[in-house]
Amino acid sequence: MSQPVLSVEQLYITLPPGADRPYAVDNVSFDLLAGEILCIVGESGSGKSMSAHAMMGLLPEGVEPSGGTIRYAGLDLLKLTDPQLRKLRGQRIGMIFQEPMAALNPLMRVEDQIAEVFEAHGLLTASERRARAVKLLEEVGIPDPPKAAKAFPFQMSGGQRQRVVIAMALALQPEILIADEPTTALDVTTQAQILKLIRDIQKKRGMAVMFITHDFGVVAEIADRVAVMQSGRIVEAGTAQAILTAPQHDYTRKLLAAIPSLATSAARATATTAPLLQVDGLFKTFRTSQGMIRKTERVVHAIDDVSLTLHEGETLGVVGESGSGKSTLGRCLVRLIEPDAGTVRLAGTDMSHLKGEALRAARKTIQMIFQDPYASLNPRASVGRIISEGPIAHGVPKREALAKAAELLTLVGLDASAIRRYPHEFSGGQRQRIGIARALALEPRVIIADEAVSALDVSIQAQVLDLLADLKRRLNLSLVFITHDLRVAATICDRIAVMQKGKLVEIGDTHEIFTRPKMAYTRLLLDAIPGREMEQAAVVKAS
């Protein structure tokens, strides 16, 4: 096998006092071999990013490496001075970040940003730099490179921006590329393209790539070797094949088991019950005007003639990429956004034309669970108040509402004593449970879950999905489940509606959609799911 280009030995990174553990990275050793892709996998807070940032000397204030070495080309990266490190950065070790928009200067043309990399190291003349920028853009597969070179970052899509960031990282032909969750902020189809690009370039240039991710699907797509991290330690390392098919450590097994499976069965399709929510010909167009003198109007058809039905006791998934209008649809159903045209009939009443008191009363039947567990709870209200406010607003006496809140907390798997505590004392998953309790407090018949598990780690995600499925059965709820993650949709939904650019592309039973998609776009989405081939191969082998 090839030589290690970079080796980390017994690395310790200390966290500031008062953190939940003494070391962010605790006695971690691994080698990065020439020409391989090493994936470092772990949940949030596992220390996976910290170890990469230590290599580049990019640790945040108060977090310091306190032991061990990172050897590269005979040097210990931890002992280098800033100027020495600066020479290495970019030239020998390149880095790609998670959020391409934040990694680019919004007010600088793309070619200038790439040229800046050469300039920083005092290489080439101005015109050569510009020529190289165009060549690099071509290499990362941006259409019409000369034109793209003159563009500003905001004129590009998320995937194109990430390509520019990759071009910048590749500019000086580094030996090592560190990629910190480079596809997490991207849509699934774009993610598939970027993963392929990274793999192709890695092969062509023979680089060593250290790829940090939380997503085992991505690991299956790209990794040669894998190291699994848990609370600062590497619990297991080995070839991708070995880790994915025969994990040794309990934690790895638990993580792999928590990944929602794509396997669906035809038996799940429920017998049709009475329709509870009927959406008919819904439209919503956003108009934003820009410019003071010459007004240029940007028109976005967020929802374009959508009709669908939710039956009693059913879970309807709404899937689509960002900008497909799925979240706008959810907000239109509860009238957080006013639709332009169309009707939403909830248990016979037309929601879309209610006003004032009548709307307030009707909203009791339809509640929402939000995406961001940090933004969806008022930081200055106690958990008891957060849950009981709804019933109190509808005239339930305070004492009764609080007793109910305590009951609901136990129902969602939290301790009733949580009632007195404040949101910041809870973890993301626990906060999401509080959000669910709040939605249930008004005894709704329909719950709209907008990306309700997207912000959670995969093991927490599995628990919350289980909870939702269980509550749905026990309380006879109907669920509209909005998600970008087809794996999640496959586990929880009875039927799935696929949206693209505001239009409903396809709607059908989950099993049908996954096994016999009718539309090309649906097939495209399914093919882009990371780790899909591997899973199918495993299914074929098992049967």
Binding site: E61, R331, V334, L336, R360, A361, R363, K364, I366, Q367, M368, F370, Q371, D372, A375, S376, L377, N378, P379, R380, A381, I386, E389, G390, A393, H394, G435, R438, A439, A441, L442
Partner: protein, 279 residues
Amino acid sequence: MRDFWNRFSQHKGAVLGLVFLTIVVTIAFVTPALFPVSPWKMVQRPFLPPFTIDRFPLGTDALGRDVLAGLAYGAQVSLLIGLISTAAALLIGIPIGLVAGYFGGRTDDVMMRFTEFFQTVPSFALAIVLVAIFQPSIKSIIAAIGIVSWPPVARLVRGEVLSLRSREYVEAAILSGQTHFTIITRQILPNTLSPIIVLASLMVATAILLESSLSFMGLGDPNLMSWGYMIGAARTVIRQAWWLSFFPGIAILLTVLALNLIGEGLNDALNPRLSRRVK
């Protein structure tokens, strides 16, 4: 709360400011006991230089009145006017900002044009006109300062509300059927408090300055001894008797500086993420 105090006390200037302000407040409270004689009463020969007689360490003014007693009574007046007029400005500015930011659209337009109307008139000129119309008295001065200083409050609150309004917990509150009033007062207002507190501490300082300027122009309450009045009365004799304007001037400078330092410390303590003192 302990966290808050820890962060506040890291800001050395703010602690110093707080100490100084505490001293000024204490003086204001014990003044009647310390100086039972009215500050308007003539007690010694006019133009007594400072540090010549132990009983009147800061000397006397053109009419033989005790400068130190004037400073102490002036502290009372300055703090009182600073605090009450700031409260008045908050009382006008916060509701306007809340309503404009929450309801948006036409309501927002109307209220912001109204606010801009006040912002475009130079505030000091407006304050002079108001006090001149209503006769100089402590009430009219407080009203005038309140009326000219609320627009920044309204703007700040509106901006905060605009960003809070689209938070998911506010959406959740709308869905749970809470009334607009409940949402504004219980969900949104508590989360706008920290910037308001910071702004208010700085506004007290501005109000003290405004009052001093008004008194300097001869538009102070004729029955109250204030720092601005003392400087104003001494301006004609500034070359013969420097101490008459110097000591009240220093008092204003230090009080305003103390309030500004406290404001900065509060800002760092209440918004730890935005703190400029990254170290």
